[in-house]
């Protein structure tokens, strides 16, 4: 059995009994990164002189971190040219917590620029490739973290999810990825994309490993006033017997690939065979979720991206004589135009437009009201069911370059994942099977607010019954 096949608990036992050393574990992953990552491009920075001497529940566990999460003294680019050489003077709260728990920081993973993208093709440092088929995308925006786990280049990884950025790459790469309830994990030190939607979460091969890491990083943080003291419950679900699984008709409508639908329907049948009670439900406003998201998200992006002007940190052309810079406005424009990528600029402008005088009520104010209706759909649904099941994405991973020229087509990949962020719910992707071409398909399970642990238990019963985690890509 390989080191990467062990769960964190099993690995911890072996480290404690000295059957393995933390250095051996770290070297195992470093060797694989050296061997395979040139092509996969999942890491932007690999840490020199790994710290393997930590003590605590994550002692000696090598973890990769999405590059939008800042790490003191270690380059954090957020996938952007404007932060290409940025060495943060502080660490995010989640990093401080994992440090205390003894983890080994392996490196920083590639992602779409400032987490903005669905395929990881918007990174300023090149796309991440899907280990199941190198000509296909990994999914975004946390593609590097998903691939690093799928290809056994790290034990677990952190990502962020604003509209599906953990669940989608997890689904397309055949690993587990969870986005917790909004407010469960501190966002302090996470480069903000859309603050009312962003949440930090975990990728792992096994459900139990995401539980282990979440229990370390969760909790109230005085530096993030949207983090909550609410507990996520220690209510355990012993089996799927009697668990009520809601299947929304809207998630199986037009646009869903037939093979993906087949795999998901089979997965739902498996849950039924395990004793779950499957119910048809309806989320009538979910068809408006993507439109709502593409107003609210860019509005928040346009405001959050305002900080990238190259004055206080980041790249700047201020000393470049090519530009005859006359005033402050010009340097803002030059730095932002030179160092921000196309998709980020598109979202900044969309957001500026929907917030501008004359359009605010038509777009932003209306979208906030529809957002409430979307949330109310879920409130009603969770009166009847414990969990909602469906596909993570309408298709398997598409080919690199297939959708880069058509932003709207690209956005449609997020159609099943964005309602969850708008409502603030916990949700995850767990491997559900494969297409005929051997591409992974993820089952999307959505839990009720603050019932993250129950959601994880349900996913784990499915995982143990189906054992898809045993199948790995051939590199």
């Amino acid at each position: 059995m390989s080191i990467s096949d062990l769960t964190i608990k099993e690995l911890r036992d072996k480290l404690e009994s000295k059957a393995l050393s933390a250095k051996e574990v770290a070297d195992f992953y470093i060797d694989r990164i050296t061997k395979y990552d040139k092509e996969l491009n999942s890491f932007l920075t690999v840490v020199d002189n790994l710290k393997v001497s930590g003590k605590g529940p994550l002692a000696g566990i090598p973890i990769a971190i999405k590059d939008v999460i800042v790490t003191k003294g270690i380059r954090s680019t957020g996938g952007s040219k404007i932060l290409e050489n940025y060495i943060p003077p502080y660490s995010a709260t989640v990093i401080k917590k994992m440090d205390k728990a003894g983890y080994t920081l392996l490196g920083k993973t590639n992602c779409d620029e400032f987490a903005q993208g669905s395929s990881n093709e918007n990174s300023a440092f090149g796309p991440v490739k899907n280990p199941w088929e190198m000509s296909r995308v990994a999914g975004g925006s946390s593609g590097g973290s998903a691939v690093a786990v799928a290809a056994d280049l790290c034990h677990v990884a952190l990502g962020t999810d604003t509209g599906g950025s953990i669940r989608m790459p997890a689904g397309w790469c055949g690993v587990v990825g969870i986005k917790p309830t909004y407010g469960r994990v501190s966002r302090y030190g996470v480069m903000a994309m859309a603050s009312s939607l962003d949440q930090v979460g975990v990728f792992a091969r096994r459900v139990d490993d995401t539980r282990e890491v979440l229990s370390v990083i969760e909790g109230k943080d005085s530096l993030d006033c949207t983090s909550s003291t609410r507990a996520t419950g220690d209510m355990r679900v012993d089996s799927l017997e009697g668990v009520r699984v809601g299947v929304p008709e809207e998630y199986f409508a037009e646009g869903l690939d037939l093979e993906v639908e087949g795999v998901i329907r089979d997965g739902i049948n498996t849950m039924k065979e395990l004793g779950a009670e499957v119910k048809e439900i309806s989320l009538p406003y979910s068809k408006y979720a993507l439109a709502t998201y593409y107003i609210i998200m860019p509005a928040e992006v346009s405001s959050n991206m305002g900080r990238y002007d190259g004055i206080r940190y980041g790249e700047s052309e201020i000393q470049n004589s090519k530009f005859k810079i006359q005033n402050l406005e010009e340097i803002y424009k030059i730095n932002r135009s030179e160092f921000l990528g196309e998709e980020v600029k598109r979202r900044i402008m969309l957001g500026t437009y929907v917030l501008s005088a004359g359009y605010y009520d038509q777009y932003y104010a209306r979208a906030q009201k529809v957002r409430r209706l979307i949330r109310q759909d879920f409130e009603k649904a969770f009166k009847q069911v414990d969990v909602i099941a469906g596909p993570v994405a309408p298709t398997p991973a598409f080919r690199l370059g297939e959708k880069t020229d058509d932003p709207l087509q690209m956005y449609l990949s997020d159609i099943y994942t964005v309602p969850v962020n708008l409502a603030g719910l916990p949700a995850l992707s767990v491997p559900a099977g494969f297409t005929k071409d051997n591409l992974p398909v993820g089952m999307h399970l959505i839990g009720k607010w603050w019932e993250d642990n129950k959601l994880l238990d349900i996913a784990e019963h499915f995982e143990i019954a189906t054992e898809h985690y045993k199948k790995k890509p051939t590199l």
Binding site: A291, I295, S302, K333, Y363, K369, P407
Partner: protein, 102 residues
């Protein structure tokens, strides 16, 4: 509803971005496609619906505004030195009205 090139130019200026003519044309095309898609929200009856302004029901929380200092570190100097242009004491930039150095 369709957005004009002039409007895209105005938005780019508000967002402090410069676009080439080619980028401007592409942005105009993309804007019209995306805005055409999000326009479907006009179908929804939102009368009497309270806007949802965030993802939590948490109320504002206050904490003391105190200086924190990581032990033994010159935090101030560290932050100032991140700026592309700075002196020992200050972050430097260009005047909002004209370049003071010319």
């Amino acid at each position: 509803m369709s957005i004009t090139k002039e409007e895209v130019r105005r938005i780019a200026h508000l967002a402090r971005l410069e676009l080439s003519d080619e980028q401007l044309a592409k942005a105009q095309h993309d804007f019209n496609e995306i805005l055409g898609y999000v326009d479907q929200l006009t179908e929804v009856n939102v009368d009497g619906i309270e806007p949802m302004r965030g993802a939590t029901d948490l109320v504002n929380q206050l904490r003391n505004d105190t200086v924190t200092r990581e032990s033994g570190e010159d935090v101030r100097n560290k932050y100032i030195s991140l700026a592309p242009e700075h002196t020992e004491e200050h972050i430097e930039t260009i005047s909002p009205f004209r370049d003071a150095r010319t």
